[in-house]
């Protein structure tokens, strides 16, 4: 069976090192031609919104996110319900983000052989 990995991001961008270290892992996997698919749920959806993180003194990892497509990480899924809870529109700082309802998200997640959650 072909192996495939899904990475679920569930933390706000500035909540600890979760978001940044999850992105680092995704990029390394991509650079070894094991591009993961990325899921954003809960507070994780804030990782995809337009923001000005640098104002807080933290590194602006949204810039690093632009590198995702370079490493063929092109499957990016966002939970519709989490957006709705946060009153967020379907506008993202990245292109080609797919918004999925809960059932579609579960079906998508079922396709992978490994799952990590940060």
């Amino acid at each position: 069976m072909n192996k495939s990995i899904a990475i679920i991001n569930s933390k706000a961008p500035l909540n600890g090192a979760h978001a940044k270290e999850s992105l680092d892992l995704a990029l390394i996997l991509g650079s070894f031609e094991q591009a993961p698919s990325l899921f954003f749920i809960g507070d994780g959806v804030w990782q995809l919104t337009e923001q000005n993180i640098a104002m807080t003194g933290a590194k602006d990892f949204l810039k690093t996110m632009q590198a995702l497509s370079f490493y063929d990480i092109e499957n990016i899924y966002v939970c519709e319900h989490s957006l709705y809870q946060r009153n967020l529109p379907n506008n993202f700082a990245l292109d080609d983000v797919t918004v999925l309802n809960r059932t579609a998200l579960q079906n998508q997640l079922a396709k992978f052989t490994s799952v990590l959650k940060f």
Partner: protein, 117 residues
């Protein structure tokens, strides 16, 4: 009292607030006590990438410029890998004072107000 980890983004805000208090003539800050995950702020071996927030340097300059006592709860620190005598050396930044919870009580007694960050 600082109880949040330097890896959390809260630290940048906490440091900025400490600086604001130090620069405000109407506020007299008598000390900072580091407890729980906050003790990691005193680690001499944190290696933060150059393009990320440099909390260590900030605490150092706060201590040097304002002579603000930075007290470290050593019991909480040792559980998290800090020690003033690990292999005959200390991995605690020299700007921090090795203290115990008793020192917190004494700071608390001298202060009008206690703020947790």
């Amino acid at each position: 009292m600082i109880t949040s980890s330097p890896l959390s983004n809260l630290t940048a805000t906490s440091i900025a607030l400490v600086k604001q208090m130090l620069m405000d003539d109407n506020i007299k800050l008598i000390g900072v006590f580091f407890y729980q995950d906050g003790v990691l702020n005193a680690s001499a071996s944190l290696s933060i990438p150059a393009d990320e927030y440099q909390s260590v340097k900030q605490w150092q300059s706060i201590h040097c410029d304002y002579h603000l006592p930075l007290h470290l709860c050593i019991t909480a620190a040792e559980k998290r890998g800090l020690s003033d005598d690990w292999q005959d050396t200390s991995n605690i930044l020299p700007e921090f004072t090795v203290s115990g919870l008793g020192e917190f009580v004494s700071l608390y007694n001298s202060a009008d107000q206690l703020i947790q960050l």
